[in-house]
Symmetry: C2
Subunit: 219 residues, 2 copies
DNA sequence: TGCAATTTTGCATCTATTGCAATTCTGCAC
DNA sequence: GTGCAGAATTGCAATAGATGCAAAATTGCA
């Protein structure tokens, strides 16, 4: 990192060096091996040693790629969430904030339940079962909340702090609701859309817009 | 503790046997010792062995009272949340659901940040720092969400599933927001009230009720 | 080719967590 | 009062995740 004669072709794709490339490959190898083993034998039945062996690295190396066994489950998801966050940061500056929020929620949800990853079903299954993984997932949720909040504050410089936090919290709450709903009723894209739309409607119009919630129950 | 001629006055409070009583004392001893040590030396600096010693039980016994070291931090909070859940279940049946939701959020928040417990400040501090504990806290949050959802469905038998989940998710989102806000701006009861009210207003009226969020930012 | 930075690895260690079986305690019936 | 059945406590051993450290292997580049 000394001579920048011709230097890195600072083009759009960050263009990593060969070294970074290899690290990336190793990372994928570890994550891939882990997911495969989790799918085959189960989560707690798979040890770090197993994963390391399958990925052809030493057990110690595992921890220089992932801080914990739990985090490896989120390798892909985290990548996708990072992309989403990035994409959100470059949204048309003249878009109404409400619209941006809607986009955010949709994008994040898609990132989480997307069919892309070879093991997404496995991941979702694992996460939903193990309490420890659920907790990790919730952490991602709060990260998301913070991302959305920052986005909002950038879009509306004058926005009160409490309004910003509340809005992002509520949006994420709606998102969480959709996840819970899908967890129960399955993941058919069609019904997911419907649920998502309904949740977002309530997010935007408030609980007060739900007729049944206003009325006193007639015993 | 011999003469119980007239036996257990099967009064309102469940009146536990002597055995249960002792267990309860031990539980408190462990939790108390743990919190004290956490406050003194820090969380990771305190081992299960330390806690057990301070509570005068064997390390092995610790785990027959708490499933994990993390859970002991929530001993008090869990008790209070249980009370709240109980109280909520016995709400006037003719109360408008929206009102019930408002009550729920307020009650849960009070349970969490109440001044009651001798160590509540310590707990909150710990929870906010350690990621692992944050995760546990979030789990409590989803438990709360479920409690609220069940409450809602009981109050509004006809309520759509998605509406119920969304409403509870959004309510909890607002709650979470208040917590985040307080975490930043301190816990003065006054400003907390204000923030809470504002958040609840947005929960009830929707993000659309926040003027700044509707307008396209003027560059 | 050889150096310097970066990675990988092996090893020791700590600690949480769990299963199991022995031991002690407690409430209660006789 | 005495003894028993069930419950709680304990000790012991083993597993596995996580971390620090320093030696060894790799890699990019001059």
């Amino acid at each position: 990192m000394s001579d920048m004669h011709h230097a890195e072709p600072a083009s759009a794709p960050p263009e990593q060096g060969l070294r970074e490339r290899k690290k990336e490959r190793t990372r994928r190898a570890i994550a891939g091996a882990a997911l495969r083993l989790f799918a085959e034998r189960g989560y707690e039945e798979t040890t770090i040693a197993d994963i390391a062996a399958a990925a052809e690295v030493s057990p110690r190396t595992f921890f220089s790629y992932f801080p914990s066994k739990e985090d490896v489950v989120f390798a892909e998801i985290d990548d996708r969430l990072a992309e989403v966050a990035d994409r959100l940061a470059h949204r048309p500056a003249d878009e109404p904030p409400l619209e941006t929020i809607r986009h955010s929620v949709v994008a994040v949800l898609e990132a989480i339940v997307s069919e892309h990853g070879a093991y997404s079903a496995v991941q979702v299954g694992l996460i939903l079962e193990r309490p420890g993984l659920q907790a990790r997932a919730l952490q991602r949720m709060t990260d998301t909340q913070q991302t959305i909040e920052e986005l909002l504050r950038e879009l509306c410089p004058g926005l009160d702090e409490i309004d910003a936090v509340a809005a992002s919290g509520i949006a994420v709450g709606g998102m969480q609701a959709v996840i819970v709903h899908c967890r129960r009723n399955g993941y058919e894209p069609r019904s997911m859309r419907v649920a998502l739309d309904r949740a977002l409607t309530i997010v935007e119009n408030g609980l007060g817009s739900v007729e049944a919630l206003r009325r006193t129950p007639d015993a």
